[in-house]
């Protein structure tokens, strides 16, 4: 594990340096103006200059992310279990989950705001709408592709549906679920930012990063805009990091994505 941690830091850093070098080079070679692509140092400076706005935006967005993400996970897991529990639920409900997923948020937004009011409530609903489907799709697939032989085993010992779900399908679906979770984690800040621009409150301490991005963008504060984008990424990384840790904790002992020797 010790060696791993060094490796897991060294490689991204090396690649980061490489990317940054290319970045500078591209700006230099193609004479890309600052309003198209600022240099990393300009972004850092802008980030420092705007750190107050960014921080309060980040806090607001993080709150929306946390609530939206947790809601997604809970609803998605419950829904997946329902979908995997019976053929009729799968056939009957899944198409409507898809419709919900595929309906453009701009159409749903007025209804959402009507029911949940302007602000955090609606933002988290929008975050939820964007995040929940990858978890549902993955978890459902995981729950439905349980090893036949193990299902036989549970049958022999007269496991009821509840037990079969809890002790067999769910552990078996873990790798799928965690992958869905990782996708959802990466989508969370996007969802929250987008929700912010659709249903947020656009002022003061209640303004999330979505608001900040729109304002920086229209005011052409491009380096600050990138700083905001990276702040959003940073929030995303916290989520992805937590999911990765969970993955490691839950699967390392038995799953083939972690091999022993």
């Amino acid at each position: 594990m010790k060696l791993m941690s060094i490796g897991s830091v060294a490689w991204p850093v090396a690649f980061g340096m490489f990317f940054i070098a290319i970045w500078y080079l591209a700006i230099h070679l193609f004479k890309i103006p600052v309003y198209q692509l600022p240099t990393p140092d300009e972004i850092v400076l802008a980030g420092i200059a705007e750190h107050k706005t960014l921080l309060s935006g980040a806090i607001q967005t993080t709150i929306a992310c946390v609530i939206g993400f947790v809601t997604s996970v809970i609803v998605a897991v419950v829904l997946s279990i329902l979908l995997a529990s019976s053929q009729w639920a799968y056939k009957g409900v899944y198409p409507y989950v898809l419709i919900l997923k595929m309906t453009p948020v701009i159409v749903l937004a007025p209804i959402i705001v009507l029911w949940f009011g302007q602000g955090l409530g609606s933002i988290t609903i929008i975050t939820f709408l964007i995040c929940f489907f990858p978890i549902v799709a993955n978890t459902t697939m995981g729950l439905r592709s349980t090893d036949r032989n193990l299902l036989d085993l549970f049958d022999v010992y007269r496991a009821n549906r509840h037990q079969e779900m809890l002790y067999l399908r769910i552990p078996h679906a873990m790798p799928y679920f965690l992958t869905g979770l990782k996708i959802a984690a990466a989508l969370t800040p996007i969802g929250a930012l987008y929700g912010d621009t659709i249903a947020g409150m656009g002022s003061g301490a209640e303004a999330g990063l979505g608001f900040v991005v729109v304002v920086f963008s229209s005011q052409l504060k491009i380096p600050a805009l990138y700083a905001a984008a990276f702040t959003a990424c940073a929030i995303g990384f916290i989520f992805v990091g937590i999911v990765s840790l969970l993955h490691w904790k839950l699967l390392r002992k038995w799953h083939d994505s972690f091999s022993l020797n």
């Binding site: 036989d152 085993l153 010992y157 038995w254 799953h255």
Partner: protein, 269 residues
Amino acid sequence: MRQALKLIVDNQLRKDKSSLVSFEKVSKQYASGPQILDSIDLEIARGDFVALIGPSSCGKSTVLKLVANLITQSSGNITVGGGHASDSSEKIGYVFQDANLLPWATAKENIGLPLKLGHIPKEKRDKVAERLLSLVGLGQAADKFPRQLSGGMKMRVSIARALSTQPELLLLDEPFGALDEMTRDDLNEQLLKLRLIQKWTALFVTHSVAEAVFLSSRILVMSANPGKIFREITVDFPYPRTSITRTNPLFQKKILEVSQALHSVRGPE
């Protein structure tokens, strides 16, 4: 009052001698494949220890799965404990042909699984699992995950699991195939000892004629393509049998008899 009691006892006895598993002209075909089992008749009484022996792929595992109601017959009738196989309430223990362990559970947890499914509390489960672990010689491996176990160890965990619920009917699909002779003989004897206490009925598949003769009261020799019961051989050595039984010349003779039956199954090929 007394008469009533006598009636109950009689009924009890009758029930004890009654058939636990019965096949009536059972045939099986997977999807649109060929006929696998052809019109099998089979009767297993409570307390029987029946060995199923026959060439590879003749349908032995299929018979076991039918008894456990994991698959359904294409035609014919199967009853288990008097009722339809699908709604029988007899407790079954099943050792699958491959170990079939939960990869995310330790050996101990795997053994305790049937008890967990029967809502037995954890302490009780752990106690049973530990006793069974030492019975199959795996006291040291309680907390290992399946991928850390050798082939024979996995099979032994699987055997221990099947025994954990003190089942009424034990279905064993080559439970000792992956074990060395000594461990195998050992476990054979353990099993017979346990049977005295737990009194289950057993239907087991084996490729070892000696094992079949040592363990069972009846041996069913199957033929293949399609699977049929070719011959039934009764083994009447008294239980409990011990390692001394093996040295009995009659034992060797019985082995020869079964072997010959098995050889004549194939016919010209």
